[in-house]
């Protein structure tokens, strides 16, 4: 009798042991291809592939093997796909390649700035289920976290480095994106309370500080002497994904407006105060007597410094005086006209 009972005991022990051993011996090899050659960006869509290899290292054949792959960021599911095979023999492997694509626009809508500027930790969940001859069912969960690079590392506008010229305005900016992005369009509009000042649209230079040229919509020479609140609305268009930056910048006029001509011992002169903190910039003044048709220009180059007051003697004349003051660095020039100046 003992031998028969021992035989039954051995059968039970063998069944339990072999099934548990088979479960533990399932090897899931997952290799999620990311940036190195496989994260392909094309027409605003990120293409990627997730090869999954399931190795049945157990002693029994696996039936109804179902593989589910899901890529998600938190609760937001970006990609989901299934594959199944009816049988996976013992000590054999099965490979599945999941090809996924994620629309950048869709991702941006779902994930917002987190995806665009910080990148995302996308959680790839691989779930494999099946059974061993209907004796035991199993479910294997494998989670892999993949750090997706940010779409955009930097998008900075430097309004303090704005330059004005005869044709327009230049704004300094810095844009840095992931290396695969080639065509990024930058649109900048500058406006104040009185309307649009300048508008520009260019293909952005990636990876280094550059200037965007804006077309002036109106005369801005007043900015040499008057403060203004400038609104910068910048838009990056990365293959359909629009990323906006809005900045408010208070423009501090570099010079104090000379309200009147002063006289000292009968000599007229202009008193200009430098009030901005734009140290080490130069201001050139050109003063011309119109009526005397004096073509000799009076040019004085000032090294401006905050708080400095400069007295600029004018010609000893009783005629109209035109003074053109320009700031070469800022690129602005302003013409002041005084009529009937007399001693």
């Amino acid at each position: 009798m003992n031998s028969k009972l021992t035989l039954i005991n051995l059968i039970i022990a063998t069944l339990i042991f072999t099934v548990i051993y088979s479960m533990v011996s399932v090897d899931v090899g997952v290799h999620v291809l990311t940036r190195a050659g496989s994260l392909e960006l094309n027409n605003g869509t990120v293409y990627f592939s997730v090869p999954v290899e399931v190795h049945n290292g157990g002693l029994y054949e696996m039936n109804d093997v179902f593989v589910h792959v899901q890529a998600a960021h938190g609760d937001v599911v970006l990609f989901s796909d299934n594959r199944s095979i009816s049988k996976l023999p013992a000590l054999k492997s099965a490979s599945f390649v999941f090809h996924g694509n994620i629309s950048l626009i869709r991702s941006y809508q779902l994930l917002g700035d987190d995806f665009v500027f910080n990148g995302s930790t996308v959680q790839v969940l691989i779930e494999i289920s099946g059974n061993y001859e209907d004796m035991a069912t199993f479910k294997i969960n494998y989670t892999k976290h993949i750090k997706f690079p940010p779409l955009l590392y930097s998008f900075i506008i430097f309004p303090e480095k704005a330059k004005f010229g005869k044709e327009g305005m230049e704004i300094s900016y810095f844009v840095n994106t992931i290396e695969n992005l080639n065509k990024v369009n930058l649109h900048v509009e500058v406006y104040d309370n009185f309307g649009t000042i300048a508008v520009g649209n260019e293909t952005a230079v990636i990876g280094r500080e550059a200037f965007i040229h804006l077309h002036l919509e109106r005369n801005v020479n007043f900015m040499l002497f008057r403060n203004d609140v400038l609104n910068f609305h910048a838009q990056l268009n990365i293959m359909g994904v629009i990323i906006s930056r809005d900045l408010v910048y208070t423009w501090h006029a570099p010079l104090d407006f000379p309200k009147e001509i002063l006289y000292f011992n009968g000599t007229p002169y202009l008193r200009i105060s430098v009030k901005s903190n734009m140290d080490n910039q130069t201001v050139a003044l050109k003063i011309r007597n119109i009526l005397s048709n004096d073509t000799l220009s009076f040019t004085k180059v000032l090294k401006i410094k905050e708080g400095l007051t400069v007295n600029i003697p004018l010609m000893n004349s009783n005629t109209t005086i035109v003074a053109t003051i320009s700031d070469k660095n800022v690129g602005l020039s302003y013409t002041l006209v005084w009529a009937g100046v007399s001693e």
Binding site: I8, I16, V19, M135, T137, F138, N141
Partner: protein
Amino acid sequence: MKDKLAFYFVIYIIIPAIALNFASKVYAPLSDSSFSLFTMIYLLALFVISIIDLYVKQKSLSVFFSSITTAAYLQILFSDVSLQNMGISIDVNMQNLLYLVYILLGLKIGVAVYYDVKQKSLFSTTINGKQWMRETG
């Protein structure tokens, strides 16, 4: 009798304790889970049943209790198994397998009962035979 007791003690207590200790070192979750506790209680129960078996003539009684204990132990610990291995979580439902095991345990009880009944009938046949021989001279 003492030799058998010592043998069962080694088989049900000493060797499993060493094996569990070793397994806990190889697979850390075993040391934290209730697996070790339940296994030691189960083995202790088997040890007690094996002692009872030494004093009881019906072997099927000990087989019955050991089978019930085994069924309870398997149901508690192996019907739903969750394992963590190298970042992979594995959930196993072995209920169908356990039904098969319960059938085998039932078979085991059946075999034991059959041999007990057979033993009893053989014993009574022997008694009756000896009585008949005495009566007939």
